[in-house]
């Protein structure tokens, strides 16, 4: 039994590290390696749930529109609020399907709903402007201490099988609201995987904080989206700068393209010289 638990933990770690869009392939390989489905069957649903929420999985609703599975919309491990449609959906993590939907009643909505809708409209326009495959959700959450927050989740995934790469961008913005100010905290994550003739991955993350003055929903939403646009662009530029710096400094310092002489190695000469040195050293 102890062995079973250890194997479950190893598979949990392997599955949680799956590159974008490759969870099912990793699961298949884990099953083959373990060679006993009774080890994984009891935990696979739970791991799939943890992975989907962590990755903010994109779900296709019965209407064909796309929503997100996130911790901020989770009512139970299978039930998620899709604010953009005022829906509560029942989601099957392993299959990735929606098996039931129920409209939310007006009394189930937060009193920040007008603000939420204004931010959502501005976010939708912004996502269309910058993310080819972007999906976002804007949640209005009320906490027990009476405070409330907007949480904006944005996820973009592209699986390019022909060019053998996958990539995912995730942003989460938490906007804590008070009467005068809104504290905005953004976290960004990028994970890409190129598997042409090898395995190369980029993992990057960053955080940012800022404060906005409270205003009417429409102008507040505009100010907030301007802040988000600028900071996500800044994060993107930082990644590009890192590529440049690593490529021009670090990579070149590790292995030169050519020796200092700009000539390829004269193997006949260095092999013969080494021979001499080595014969001398041996004496």
């Amino acid at each position: 039994m102890e062995g079973t638990e250890a194997k479950q933990q190893i598979c949990h770690a392997l599955l949680m590290a799956s590159p974008p869009g490759e969870f099912n392939e990793v699961l298949e390989s884990c099953r083959t390696l373990v060679g006993d489905d009774t080890v994984l069957d009891p935990v696979v649903e739970e791991i799939s749930h943890a992975y989907n929420v962590d990755q903010m999985n994109i779900v296709t609703l019965p209407t064909g529109e796309k929503g997100l599975i996130t911790a901020y919309g989770e009512v139970s491990p299978n039930q998620y609020i899709i604010p953009k449609k005022s829906l509560l959906i029942t989601y099957q993590h392993l299959q990735g399907t929606v098996t039931d939907t129920r409209p939310l009643a007006p009394e189930e909505l937060s009193d920040k709903e007008p603000l939420r809708q204004a931010v959502e409209a501005a976010m939708n326009a912004y996502v269309a402007e910058r993310y080819k495959d972007g999906v976002c959700e804007v949640y209005a959450n009320q906490y027990e201490d009476g405070s409330s927050a907007l949480v904006i989740c944005l996820q973009a995934t592209r699986i390019n099988a022909t060019s053998m790469w996958t990539g995912r961008w995730r942003s989460v913005w938490t906007i804590t609201l008070s009467s005068a100010n809104a504290d905005c905290k953004g976290t960004f994550q990028v994970h890409t995987h190129c598997y042409e003739g090898g395995n190369v991955q980029l993992k990057s993350s960053s955080e940012v904080s800022a404060t906005l003055e409270m205003a009417e929903p429409a102008p507040f939403a505009q100010a907030l989206i301007a802040l988000i646009r600028a900071n996500e662009q800044k994060y993107h530029s930082q990644i590009d700068e890192s590529f440049t710096r690593l490529g021009e400094d670090t990579f070149r310092a590790l292995r030169f393209q050519l020796p200092i002489s700009k000539q390829r190695v004269d193997w006949q000469t260095i092999a013969a010289q080494s021979k001499v040195g080595h014969e001398l050293g041996r004496k």
């Binding site: 392997l14 003739g197 690593l246 590790l254 190695v265």
Partner: protein
């Protein structure tokens, strides 16, 4: 068993290359019966060992391992010591190993300007006059001044050298050998919270002559010359490939996920261009000529 090995290799192609040691140890815990086969088929980041007799570092891998000890290319002794129990290459192969190792020291200095290199040679039981060899190179580079960039490069070159089954060209002097090289480069780069890491593998096969008798000093130089030029060419090409993959392709992918320009703007421009082309029956070349003329009149 082979299904499990394939599954393990599939996982190694998908799991983050920055966690390769943890991934491999997890896989071995899941399928301990495949340990030997997996250790010989999965490349791991190179580790450094100290030859306390020569007072020099060397690189360890499955190629110079016997039990828990690793043979040093400097003295051919095992560390940690195994009381003279470890396998030794036969004398002509050890001679070749010493020559290869010291030649590759020059190569390492020329291309890496630092780092550690170790070469090993062992017998190929299947081919008379054939042998196998590997050259391992590790270079690390920390640049604290420029905002904590870190890099680590591992090259793993494995040769199989066998008498060629092709017939020599008419009038050629010497013996024809087939040099099969499998090269893996593992490269990890970090700056701040950004990690770019991976491994790429490429195989290269070439026939070449040795003009002197094998197992003579000159014959060994011939072999090393042939192996060296194949290694240099393969590593240089793979370096260019890695450079494109790590910096250009990754940058494109991030740019694909998040666009730095307004997508609808770009769409509008493309649509407008299509309309103009359809309307005028223009070709891209004539459009380019028009654009050039416009720039000229500005």
């Amino acid at each position: 068993m082979s299904g499990k090995v394939d599954a393990a290799l599939d996982l190694m192609r998908r799991q983050p290359p920055s966690d390769i040691d943890a991934t491999l140890s997890g896989i071995l815990d899941l399928a301990p019966e495949c340990t030997e086969e997996l250790l010989t088929s999965i490349d791991q980041p190179l580790k450094v060992m100290r030859d306390t007799q020569a007072n020099r570092d060397y690189l360890i891998s499955d190629f110079n391992r016997d039990g828990d000890s690793y043979r040093s290319p400097w003295t051919s002794q095992y560390f940690p010591t195994n009381d003279g129990q470890g396998a030794q290459p036969i004398p002509p192969l050890r001679e070749l190993e010493q020559d290869l190792h010291s030649t590759m020291e020059t190569y390492r200095e020329l291309y890496f300007n630092g780092g550690i290199q170790s070469s090993y040679v062992w017998a190929l039981p299947t081919a008379e006059n054939g042998f196998a060899a590997c050259t391992l190179i590790k270079k690390e580079c920390d640049n604290v001044q420029k905002g904590l960039t870190k890099g680590c490069w591992d090259s793993i070159h494995v040769f199989e050298v066998t008498p060629s089954t092709n017939s020599p060209a008419p009038g050629s002097a010497g013996t024809l050998f087939t040099y099969k090289l499998t090269t893996t480069i593992m490269l990890t780069l970090t700056v701040g919270s950004l990690n770019l890491s991976g491994n790429v593998t490429r195989q290269n096969v070439r026939d070449d002559y040795i003009t002197h008798a094998p197992n003579t000093p000159q014959g060994r130089i011939d072999h090393i010359k042939n192996m060296g030029s194949l290694l240099e060419e393969t590593e240089s090409r793979l370096r260019s490939h890695v450079e494109t993959l790590y910096f250009q392709k990754m940058k494109e992918i991030v740019g694909y996920l998040h666009s730095s320009a307004d997508l609808s703007e770009a769409d509008r421009r493309r649509a407008a261009q299509r309309n103009i082309m359809a309307g005028l029956g223009a070709t891209p070349a004539s459009l380019a000529a028009q654009a050039a003329a416009r720039v000229g009149t500005r």
